[in-house]
Amino acid sequence: MGRDFLKRGRRKLEEWNWAVGLFGGYCGEKLAESMVRRHIAAAVSEERALSCRDAVCALREDLLMFMEEEEIDDILAAVEDRESREKNEMAD
């Protein structure tokens, strides 16, 4: 049972690997993984945020502790890009 739980957690995080990659350049893979799981993936899956972009926007103040405004804007642009691509794929 414990193993199943771990597998499910891992599978969920694998879906978010692209976001880990985005933040990994600024705070390292491990911290980015933890941050994405705790804040972004949790917010989206618990429906506290409508989309990943919203989740990142909500974190802006906290991210400013170690990131520059332009860096956050770059990440937001990448997230938007991915989300619009996903929407187009769904429509097709």
């Binding site: 390292g28 911290l31 933890s34 941050m35 502790m65 520059e68």
Partner: protein, 356 residues
């Protein structure tokens, strides 16, 4: 405890610490290096890491702090306090540690009650950083009483009340560690830019007389930075950084440098004195705080190279320098640091000059 009439530095600091030529402050009783750190910088680093990894990062930092402070406290206690179970000797030892904490800017530790059975209520006013104060109290208690206490903490406004109690357990053996060899510069700068002058009465560097020691509140205020500072052990902070690197990889240093840079920028933005400081003055202030020893600073077109020795943390020092320069020169800077043993170089370039 009293303040030097000439420079205003507490006698505990003058007698207990030595400003070596190598840009370090050494505690005479424990033999460890110390550094003046901004309390808000500590908070910023802690907040960033706990935001990224949650309470685990905070726990790692506090646990390492507790472990290292315990070792230092055991070393600095007298023989009697270490080996005798007489409670008033221990009470005296605890007051000695409390006096040191007041002078180092950790806050005002008031012992409300201390019973021979090993139960105490301590009141900490103006704590410099509450998670570390909690860790330190556990460490001091363990050093004095010989076992880890059961702790209950209540924070009310700017004051925290700690109830400590001894669980029943056997006293553990305590081991002392061998001192490390400390960096000393081969040649002391003669009439150079980083020369220090000392107070004729107490021998403390005259630069630290600008700090305001409030012994009643247990705070040390740096009017140049307009920030409260604390005199904290380098070995302890290094241990924290090493432990964080073990958990999160080398990149954690980058995060800390980024946080220090942002912190420094915010500090300089609202501070005319800091903005008007010259480069040499700013670097000299880092030496006096025990953060680093500056061998020299070379200015090349579009690059500033600062040769350093024995930094308490190369990443945080680099971040602080970069933040200060960014805000002063209004240019985004990219910062790199290379360390080989205790010697290293910090390179600052305008961000657009960076390739790759």
């Amino acid at each position: 405890m009293e303040l030097c009439l000439e420079c205003g530095v507490p006698d505990v600091i003058c007698r207990g610490f030595e400003w070596s030529g190598g840009g370090s402050i050494v505690n005479r009783s424990s033999g460890k290096e110390y550094v003046f750190l901004d309390c808000r910088l500590l908070t910023a680093v802690y907040d960033t890491l706990t935001f990224l990894d949650g309470p685990r990062a905070g726990l790692i930092m506090c646990e390492v702090r507790r472990r290292t402070v315990k070792e230092e406290a055991v070393r600095s206690l007298g023989f009697l306090a270490r080996h005798s179970r007489i409670w008033f000797v221990r009470r005296r030892a605890l007051s000695g540690l409390r006096d040191l904490a007041v002078c180092c800017g950790y806050g005002n530790f008031r012992i409300r009650s201390y019973e021979p059975s090993g139960r105490a209520v301590l009141e900490v006013a103006h704590p410099y950083f509450l998670p570390f104060v909690d860790a330190e109290l556990r460490a001091y208690w363990e050093a004095v009483e010989g076992e880890q206490p059961w702790v209950k903490m209540e924070a009310q406004g700017g004051t925290a009340v700690f109830q400590l109690e001894n669980p029943e357990s056997k006293e553990k053996d305590r081991k002392s560690r061998v001192l490390h060899e400390r960096f000393r510069p081969e040649e002391r700068p003669s009439s150079g830019k980083f020369e220090r002058t000392t107070c004729t009465s107490c021998g403390a560097p005259i630069e630290i007389s600008r700090f305001t020691w409030n012994l009643a509140a247990g705070t040390v205020y740096d009017p140049t930075r307009e920030a409260h500072v604390c005199l904290i052990s380098v070995a302890s902070m290094e241990a924290i950084i090493q432990e964080l690197k073990k958990h999160y990889g080398k990149e954690v240093e980058d995060v800390m440098a980024r946080t220090a840079r942002k912190y420094m920028r915010g500090l300089v933005r609202g501070n005319m004195i800091m903005r008007n400081l010259g480069k040499q003055e700013f670097l000299r202030s880092l030496v006096t705080r025990g953060e680093v020893y500056i061998v020299g600073a070379k200015e090349r077109p579009r690059t500033v190279e600062i040769e350093i020795r024995n930094p308490w943390s190369a990443a945080l020092v680099a971040g602080e320098i970069a933040g200060w320069m960014e805000e002063k020169e209004r240019v985004r800077m990219a910062v790199e640091w290379d360390m080989e043993g205790e010697a290293g170089t910090i390179r600052l370039k305008p961000a657009d000059a960076i390739t790759g």
